[in-house]
């Protein structure tokens, strides 16, 4: 099929009617060019789609309000050694275990209704008292001097699951119990057990748990924005890839047009791809100036 088209094309290359240019472009010596062009366009399209998907996923993960879902057992959302599940941000989880009161810390720089304050964080050991622990934000307090004594003993509560923070903000005073972020690297120095790669913000203010007494509800609205910028980066990359794909397409079409134009205007010879862009002044028919 192709062969016959090619023969036809070459045979009439000297004085082709316009509709014979298309078969001519299918000549075997051009196949490499077409292949490169198709691959370039396809690769750019796929990479763009990949970045676009990543952008949408991140946005979806951010936008979906999981906080009103039915609580699920903590074990179903994340294990002690698991990385944070990206689709579980804000998922209410049931946390059963034992408070680790000695490891209570404050996290600075948390606003509530425009007031600067602190989160009060106490880990809960989930299986045994010395088993892996999940840091739990019990609530918010305006002053580090005004923190109720940490709860002790067994507990069962519902909290919103959150990935641990860690943009690398340094702890200005590593010796006190005030941290700048809910960060595993800092918290792990204050407990004897392993920590989850996540933390929880207590959700059931009306529930029966002593951990929140004397503290105001810490809400997810107080969370710093995470990932928004990164997600923006994804969509910018997606647009770039598609642009390059369109550009490759443009160059390809342009090249084909020049090839066919050459055979129409160039009387003595038809240009090869090599001489096309570089060639003699009359060679680039479309652009000559």
């Amino acid at each position: 099929m192709r062969i016959s088209l090619v023969n036809q094309g070459i045979g009439r290359a000297r004085t082709p009617p316009y509709d014979q240019d298309v078969p001519r472009l299918l000549a075997p010596r051009y196949w490499g060019v077409h292949l490169v062009a198709i691959v370039a366009v396809a690769v750019a399209a796929v990479l763009g789609a990949w970045q676009y998907d990543a952008w949408q996923e991140r946005r979806a993960a951010e936008a979906v309000d999981l906080t009103r879902l039915e609580p699920i057992p903590l074990d179903d959302a994340i294990g002690p050694d698991d990385p944070f599940p990206g689709d579980k941000v804000g998922q209410p989880v049931v946390i059963e275990g034992t408070w680790v009161p000695d490891a209570t810390v404050l996290v600075s720089g948390r606003e509530l209704d425009g007031r600067e304050g602190y989160w009060v964080v106490t880990p809960v050991a989930t299986t045994r008292p010395d088993g892996p622990a999940l840091p739990v934000v019990r609530g918010w307090t305006p002053s580090p001097d005004d923190v109720p004594a940490p709860p002790t003993g067994a507990t069962e509560l519902v909290g919103w699951l959150q990935p641990t923070e860690g943009t690398g903000e340094a702890d200005p005073d590593p010796d006190d119990d005030i941290l700048p972020q809910v960060r595993t690297a800092d918290l792990v120095q204050r407990v004897d057990q392993d920590l989850y790669g996540a933390y929880a913000v207590v959700a059931d203010q009306d529930g029966v748990n002593d951990g929140t007494d004397g503290l105001e509800q810490a809400t997810l609205a107080q969370l710093p924005d995470v990932g928004r910028f990164t997600a923006l980066r994804n969509v910018l990359y997606a647009l770039e890839w598609w642009f390059f794909g369109a550009f490759a397409l443009f160059v390809w079409v342009r090249w084909m047009r020049d090839e066919t134009a050459d055979t129409q205007t160039g009387p003595e010879t038809h240009a090869t791809p090599e001489t096309d862009s570089e060639g003699e002044p009359a060679g680039t028919a479309g652009e000559g100036q």
């Binding site: 690398g168 910028f229 910018l236 390059f244 862009s277 570089e278 652009e287």
Partner: protein, 115 residues
């Protein structure tokens, strides 16, 4: 043609500087500096410049392509010039070559004080 050439030079230098900064400063700092150190954080924050590089490179590709048609670069040099936006430091050499050739072929378009 002169405007295109000037636009090309400006874009080439911006792309070159951004690429050199991203790949030779931000990237090593982000991955090689001690985790959590100030330098490492700077490298991580500076990585956003990759986006800037990508977008300027996009414009660069179009302008370089248009110039390649007008200045009748060989396909090989055209490809090299386009790819130079992705290979650190190469673009400075390419820009130099382009300028050299442009001045040689169009002395009437180049002002005498051109460096």
């Amino acid at each position: 043609m002169k405007n295109l050439f000037n636009a090309y030079r400006v874009l080439a230098i911006i792309v070159g500087v951004l690429l050199a900064f991203c790949s030779l400063v931000a990237l090593p700092l982000k991955y090689l500096a001690p985790e959590g150190s100030d330098l490492q954080q700077f490298g991580e924050a500076a990585s956003i410049m990759w986006v800037a590089h990508g977008w300027v490179f996009m414009i660069y590709v179009v302008v370089a392509f248009l110039l390649s048609r007008k200045a009748k670069w060989t396909p090989a040099f055209t490809i090299l010039a386009l790819a130079a936006g992705l290979i650190p430091l190469l673009i400075f050499w390419v820009e130099h070559k382009v300028s050299q050739r442009f001045r040689a072929e169009h002395p009437e378009l180049v002002t005498s004080d051109a460096s």
